[in-house]
Structures are given as C-alpha cells and as structure tokens.
Symmetry: C2
C-alpha cells in the first residue's frame, strides 16, 4: 500500500506553499469584512439554537481553521448558519432542557457526531448520499424552515415567551402570551427589522445613485447593516437602561478564548442524536457544496465533494472540542468572502482570528445587546431564503416533483424540521421508484419484408398466435422486476393459445439479483402453465453475468442471438405469413 | 363519479355466483386438510408471538373469512405465520410486558394498524412500495429470521427461561440458564424435533416406496406430522402426569368462539407501533403475494396486487376485532391448500369453520400439550426457510446485491428483525442510487467523412479545442444530476481554451426538476466562466417540458437539432479539418 499524497489529505499544503503577499492582502481585506458580518450572525444563530451567545463566537473560531486545512473550496466561509441552528435546536431540545448543562453537552455531542459522520462519508466516498435530497425537497425544506425560523423569532421581537417546533405550537404559544408584549422590546424589534429590510432593499441603490459609490463598496456597506442595528440598539438600551424596563438583553458574556471541551461520551445520548446528526450532516453538506461549487466555477476552479465532506467534518469535530455547535458553509457569508476578494482559505483563518479577538476583548460591548435585534437579524436573513417562486416553477414543470416539495413544506411547518426532511426524502425516493417501477415494454411483431420487429400498437406488423414477444426497453432491477412479472403473467392469462414467450432484451444493460429471481419465477411459472420461456438479443455483459447463475440451465427455452432467429425456430409459419403479406402488399403497390 | 363495480371491490361476488357442487366438494376436502395442519401451527405461532394459545385460533377464524371476501387469490391460506409472529413479538414487547393485558391490547392494535395500512395502500394503489424490498433483502431477512426463531425456541425444548430479540442476547440468556434444563421437557423436545425432521425427510419416500401410496396422499400424511407429534406427546404428558415433573404445557384454554374485541384507541401507542405495523404490512404482503402469484400462475389465473393489499388488510382488521394478532398468507399452508384441490376462497371459509369448531369443542384436548412440541413444530418449519444456497448464489451473481443481503442477515441476527429490514432496505436503495448515480457519459468527436459523432476514447475522431461535446446516455434525475454537474465542471477545468460546451441528449427521456436545476446551475456557472452552454438532439417530450421552465430563455447558447449543426455553427474549422482528414485518409488508401 502506498502512503497517500499528503496534499490530497490536507489540501492546505498545496496553496500554502504558494502563499505570497498578494494573497495575504486580499485574504486580510476579505476577512475583516466577513468578521464584521459574522459577529452578529454568530450571536444570533447561537440564540436560535437555544445556546448562550458566546457559543456562537466559539463555533466561529477553531472550525474555520479546521476547514481551512482540510476543505477544498477557496472561498467557503464556514460557521453557524440558520437552518443547521434550527435543526440543532430541534434535536437537542428533545434530549435536554434548554439552558441546562446537558443541553450544551448535547449540542457539543451533536457537533462531534455530525463531524465524525461527515469524515466517514468523505473517507468512504459517500458524497453521493447527498443525491437523496432532490432539489425540490431542499428548496421546499429551506423555504419552510425560513418561515418557521422567522415565526419562532417573533417572541424576541415581542418580548414574550413562546416555544414549539412547528407552526401550530409556536403560533398557539405566541397567541397565548401576546398580552404580555413588552412595549420597549417591540419598539426596538420593529425598528431593527424595519431598518434591516430597508438596508437590504434600498441602501445599495441609494449609495450608488446619490453618493456615486462603487458597487463593491455599496455592497459591503449593505452587508454591514446588522452591525449598525446592533450598535444603535445596544447604545439605546445602555443609555436609557431599557433592560430595567423589561428589554431582554444578551447579558454578560464570559471574556476569553473558547474552552477546550470534551464531548460527553454517552452511547444512549449518541444513539438518540444519531438520526439528527445524519440529517444535519447531509443538509449542511448539500447547502455548503452548492455554494462552494458556484463560487469555484466563477474562477474555473474545482471543489472535490469527498474532500468537502472531510473539511466540513473536521470543522464540526473542531467545534465539538472548543465549546461550539454544528457548523457548515454559509451562503451569503461565502458570497461576501468571495466578492471581497478572498484568494485562499487563509481568509477563513484570519476571520477566525478576528472572532477570537472579539471573544477576547469585545464581549463586554454585547452586554446591553437586545435579543430583539438579533431576532431581527435572523428574520431578515431567513426570509430571503423563502423562495415562493420556486414552488410555482416546480408546480409548472413537474407535478411529481411538486408533490415531494409540497410534502416537505407541509410537514416541516406542521410537524417539524426533521420530520419534514425525512418525509421529503422518503416521498422523493418513493416517487422515483414509482416513476421507474414501470419499465417501458412493448409486444412486438414482424414488419413484413424485413427482419425488424416493432411495437404492435404503433406499426402494422405480423404476429403469431403461439409466440408472444415482449421487448423491454430498460435495465431490470428490483424497482421494476415485479412489474415485469406482472406484465408477463397478464399477457399469458390473456392469450390462451400461447406456447412460447420471448423476452427481447436489446436495451437491458443490467439484470440485478432481484430481476434474476423474477426471470426464474417467470420461467418456473410459465413452465407450470405449459409455456416455454426464451430470451433474445441479450447484451454480452448481461449474458456473462447470467452465466454465473443457474438460470440458463433451468431456462425451458433458448437464448436467441436475434429476434428473427427466435421466430424462425419457434413459429416459421408466421415468418412465411409475413413474407407472403409483403409480397401481396408489394404486388398491390405494383398493380397501383 | 361512477359507483365502482361491486365485483371489483368484493371479488367474492364473481366466484360465489358460479359456485357449484364440484367446487364445494373440492373446497371441503382442502379445508379439512388445511385445518389439521393449521391447528398446531396457530397454537405455535401464538406462542412465538408471546400470546396465549387461543389467540392463534382466533387469528385463524374471522381473518380467513375476511380474506375470502376481499382477496383475489383462489388458493392463498391466510393465518398466523412465523416471520410475522416474530415481528409482532419484537414490536409488542417494546411497549408492554409479555403476559399483561397491555401486551394483548398492543398485539390487537398492531393488527388493526397493519390492516388499515394495507387497505390504504390498496386503495391508493401503493403496491409498488413492496418493490423497496429487493429479493436479496427478503431472502436474507427470512433466512436470518428463521435462525433467530429457531434459537429463540430452544428455551422451550430445554424447559428453561430465556429472552432477547437478537442472537447475542438470546444465546447469552440460554447459556446462563442452561443448568436448569428439565430432563422430561428435553426428552419430549428432542423426540418431537427428531420425529418431525424424520417425517419431513423420510416419510414421503417411505410411504410411496413401501406402501405404494399415491404421491398426493403421501404428501398430505407428511404434512400431518405435527398433528401426530402433538397427539403422541400430549398423551404422554397426560398419562404420566409429566406436568408435575416440570414439563411446561399449554394449559387450560378458554372454550368458545373468538370474543369481540375493541382495539385500544391510544394515539401514543399507535405512534410507537406505526413503524412496526408498516414493516409487518410490507413484509407480510411481499411473502403473501409471492406465493399467491406462484399458485395462480399454475392455473393461468391472475392475482391483483392492489386487491391483495385490500384482502390482507381486511383479514388483519378482522383479526383486530376478534382477539387475534397480525396475519398474512402462509407459504406451505397455501401450497397444501392448492395441492389438496382448493378451487375458490370458500376453502378458507371452511377452514375457518374447522378452527371455530376446534375453539368450541377441542381446546380441552390441548391442556396437556407440551410447549416443547409446539417449539419443535416451529423449529422444523422455520429451518426449512433458511436458504444458505441463496447466499452463495447471490455472492456469485452480484457483489452489490450480496452486500445488501449480508447487511440484512447480520443486522437481524445481531440487533433484531426490525433493524435488519430497515438496514437492508436502506442499503439496497442506497446501493441502487449509487449504481445509477453515475450516468454513462462520453466526450464525442466527429468521425471523419460522416456526420456521426462518437466517443473519443473508442473511435478515431476529430475534436475541437474550443467546443467540447458531452453525450449523456441516460435520463437525468435527482440521483445523477449532481454527477453531471461534476463531470461538466471537471471537463471545463481541464480545458482552458474552451468556449462552448454542448450537451448531446439523444438518450435522455426525462429531465426532472433536480436535473433542470443542475442544467440551470451549469448554464450559470459556465456563463460566469465565459463559456456558452448548448444542447443538441433533445427529444420532443423533453423539449416540451423544458419549454415550461425559464431554462431556454436563460440558456447562453442554443438548442441544435443535430450535433453536426451544432459543430457547423460553433466551430466550422473543425468540420473542415474532419473533411480534410477524410480526404487525406481516402487518398492514402487509394495510394496503397
């Protein structure tokens, strides 16, 4: 066994050896911008996950360094993201009380499990598992999660209590406590939300038109909107001592670098978090790889799906050992990183340094930061994920795909995020199996005057009373093997004079073990009914595989190289009839 | 809306209207034979499910009548079967203590849920869901279940306590209590097991060779072996009062017809049994439909998969309301029914009457029936399900199919039956997606002197530096859409001079919403990289569907009717080079 190329295991080796001043300055600029954007996001997504604010900062330090070493994307910005934080809250609150030490421990265990699963998937080259999530399911999931997250954050805008993991419970719980709305909290919440929506929609055109700012700078300033909201509302709370008037604030955050944490080794806990960890891994991966590929393509670079799994896995393991929670590549953050000119993953390392400095020195500034402002940040961010147009487009394009999407949305909103993904995946796999469970088949007959055999429903062909030929136009495997059996038995039941059935296989590239058993069953059942079973036009590799089984020994009939040979052997009369009809037809044509 | 044809809802109407004396006598003979076989089986499988013996009888009365009304097979014999009883024990013992009233209630609820699920699947025409269970998974599941059941019954042969739902726990528990083995129980158990194996292997040839008995009669006598074992061992226990010596017996069974039971309406209970009910439904259905189809084919009859779902569903609902537990069509019992000449499902009604008479009058006879005899019946029956040859054949035929089978066997034995099925299904779907996640693609070039474009790896073709053409040989859907993206991005990254990418689609029959998004992503990413994206040879229906989306408007390039037109438009130089090379080649041939 050869030792693996170290640069393949740690892609950082490749770019670090060519790291020069030009890359350094570009990465530094990008890191400063991403850090400014990441500070409020990391605090907000920790709150969304039900965790203390500093956990968000911790999850934005070591995981970024780990990804920089092992990831393959040049521009991906890793850290806490909305959907994964929501999934974390759903999973962890099932096994522990929010606010308890067990809750924190479970979040750490979830990051560890998710990290180990991602690494295992990377090593075993299981990136294709992400294919299980079809686009309509992902799109429906993200839209519904966005709505669910936005609604769940309303409690912070109102300053009331509410809980639940689906729309009915959250809405009911909000309605029950609506009377306790805190005026000052609502004021801050409405201001922050309105301001952020205004920034998102109007600031950029304003900066460009009125101030003639270059598009890149206008863009960066727009992305800094949440920081402005944080500064303004935090100052207001501090100046007017609004915490005394019932405005919920982040409060004291411990100053310092992330602690070294040992994830709890508790097999029962791991068992109950395993499914959630798998969902978080796959969903996080799908989201991340999609933005990574988009950005890489712009520079004609490549990301390697299996290396991405390893990189994201390393990031989550790092989160688990430094007091964090599950992370993945964020969409808008990565785009900002790319647009700001990040050249290498070193930008992520610099961002981590920025967040580390924040954790060391700036946390006292967040003491008066109102939770309503963080909630506003989350709401404005996630509502941009809601894509109602995609629902309409999918409906127009394909009803089956729409069914999978609608199921995902309805179950996420009505039951919860995890149930929604599972329902969506199960339905899309089931619909796919259903779509492919009926291979195209045709009963064929001879085209007079040729050796061609064509579909009896479409062509004027000569057929035999005693020989029935069925052409299968797809590979045979477990999803459609039973349908083939049904089709053959139906045809035999409808043709009482039948003596031979020929299965014509010019388009069969694979016969799996299930399909082999179906062919054996067809052979045995036709034998019991006094009908012989033949094959024709079987491809070479399929024939080689069949020779490894007993099927060819037990076959009551033969395997014919061509369908014409089959008919000559089984029913020469029909061949003669076809020839005769051809002559009559030709004669008729001549006579005309 | 038209009223549905009553004979389609209740197939019994069709055969009842033509029911004559000939059918009556044939059905009566078959029913007598099946009843004799079913009595010990029903008692034994109730014991396997952890339920009182009479429950086995109850499950063999009304369910048979319900199936006769709604089922579509003429010969299927419904009732308790080994694998479903094992699944019942695994599911019910998770929610209730064996022997308790809750345990019985949960078994009844399981029958109800399974029945309702089967009926729903029948009405929604979801029979194709059974395709999820590939043959290797079913075969592995049955073999492993057979081993597990046989080992679990050893405790009755030894007269000791043991429990567990997988091989390690059962074996450990047997080993721990081995010292308490009861001599008399072991004697009866070894005698009954040895006798039954002898009957199965040697009685039929003996009866035919020595006594010149006709094969049919010899067969029936062989099937009555368990009854003989029951009679002999029950008499022995009664005569020598072996119950006093510690031989565990069935004991007093209440005399009378099945009680009317109301399944517990407890949503929590239903929720925790739902997955098990689904597994029992699908596995029971797959087993049942397979034997039903085999028997129907012998008379060139048909069974309707969706009608079978309704029939089995009705049988399970009937079981729930008459103190029974989940049932399905049994393999050996149905074969006996068929061989004994059953003409219509009325044979099942007569069998039900036979079991009802047994429940009314014969239960006192079972008081001294040793459990060891029932265990011997079960062991001999299930070991015939173990098919080690199938494991070897699958290994030889296909390693991927073998992997799914091996996973099923190992997880059933090591963890339990339900986990085993889930693992097998998940692995076979995953392997299938993996198998199909890489559609066959080829970069093509022009065959000089023709308008044909062929694989550059297999043919001597002319290619362009600025235009890359990729031919896809399969439909594009969520399982392989991402692979297509990867392939295109890889090719673009490797060809720096590229200006155009053409996707040649002569074999693409479907582009689902996921694949459409992938094509949109390819288009957008190639545009960002300065490469135009074109399609060629798109089939009509695929084109029609694409027109329903915005893709064609956003496409940076064009859709060409033929690949040759594409090359003429995008790189006429290469077309000229191909023509020139053809002339040189031809000239060279002429010169030779």
């Amino acid at each position: 066994m050869r030792a693996p190329d170290p640069a393949r295991v740690i892609p950082a080796i490749t770019w670090l050896t060519r790291y020069r001043g030009r890359e350094l300055s570009a990465d530094l600029v990008a890191a400063v911008i991403v850090t400014i954007m990441l500070i409020p996001q990391s605090l907000a997504y920790a709150m969304l996950a039900g965790l203390p604010a500093q956990v968000g900062l911790y999850a934005s330090i070591l995981p970024l360094v780990a990804y920089a070493l092992f990831g393959s994307s040049r521009a991906l910005a890793v850290g806490p993201v909305a959907v994964v934080s929501l999934l974390t809250a759903a999973a962890v609150s099932r096994v522990a009380e929010p606010g308890s030490a067990e809750y924190m421990g479970a979040a750490i265990a979830l990051a560890l499990l998710s990290g180990l699963m991602l690494i295992a998937m990377g090593l075993l080259r299981l990136g294709f598992l992400a294919n299980l999530l079809s686009h309509p399911v992902i799109s429906g999931f993200i839209t519904a999660s966005g709505i669910l997250i936005a609604v769940s954050q309303l409690k912070h805008l109102l300053g009331i209590d509410a809980h639940g993991h689906n729309l009915p419970t959250i809405a009911g719980s909000l309605a029950a406590n609506l009377a306790e709305t805190n005026f000052w909290t609502l004021l801050i919440g409405v201001f922050a939300t309105g301001f952020l929506f205004w920034v998102r929609g109007n600031l950029k055109p304003l900066l460009r038109a009125r101030l003639g700012m270059p598009p890149f700078l206008a863009d960066i300033l727009t992305k800094a909107g949440p920081v402005a909201a944080v500064v303004v509302t935090t100052s207001a709370v501090g100046l007017f001592d609004l915490a005394q008037r019932g405005v919920d604030v982040v409060g004291e955050i411990p100053q310092g670098l992330p602690p070294v944490t040992m994830p709890p080794v508790d097999l029962d806990l791991w068992g109950s978090l395993a499914t959630s960890a798998l969902l978080i891994s796959v969903i996080g991966f799908v989201e991340s790889i999609s933005v990574a590929q988009t950005l890489a393509a712009k520079k004609r670079q490549r990301v390697d799906a299996n290396q991405e799994l390893t990189g994201l896995g390393a990031a989550n393991v790092a989160a688990a050992f430094s007091g964090g929670f599950p992370v993945t590549g964020g969409f808008s953050r990565s785009v900002v990183n790319f647009d700001a000119g990040a050249e290498t993953p070193m930008a992520g390392v610099f961002t981590a340094a920025g967040i580390a400095l924040t954790a060391l020195f700036l946390t006292p500034l967040f003491q008066h930061l109102p939770k309503a402002t963080l909630a506003a940040t989350i709401i404005v961010a996630v509502l941009s994920l809601v894509d109602l147009g995609a629902i309409r487009r999918t409906y127009v394009y394909s009803k089956l795909d729409f069914a999978a999407m609608a199921a995902t949305i309805l179950v996420v909103l009505g039951v919860g995020v995890e149930a929604g993904v599972v329902a969506g995946v199960a339905l899309s796999v089931a619909l796919y199996l259903w779509r492919t469970s009926r291979p195209h088949t045709a009963v064929v007959g001879q085209v007079p005057g040729t050796e061609h055999f064509r579909n009896v429903d479409r062509h004027d062909v000569v057929t035999s009373e005693t020989v029935l030929t069925l052409r299968v136009d797809e590979s045979l495997y477990f999803a459609n093997a039973r349908y083939l059996e049904d089709t053959v038995y139906d045809l035999v039941a409808r043709h009482p004079k039948l003596q031979h059935v020929v299965l014509m296989c010019p388009a069969v590239n694979l016969i799996d073990a299930s399909a082999l058993e179906s062919l054996e069953a067809i052979n045995a059942r036709l034998r019991d009914a006094g009908v012989t079973f033949h094959l024709s036009e079987v491809k070479g590799p399929v024939m080689d595989r069949l020779k490894r089984s007993d099927f060819l020994d037990e076959l009551t009939g033969q395997v014919f190289l061509s369908q014409h040979q089959a008919m000559e052997a089984l029913d020469p009369d029909t061949i003669r009839r076809a020839a005769a009809r051809h002559e009559t037809d030709t004669g008729r044509v001549r006579a005309v």
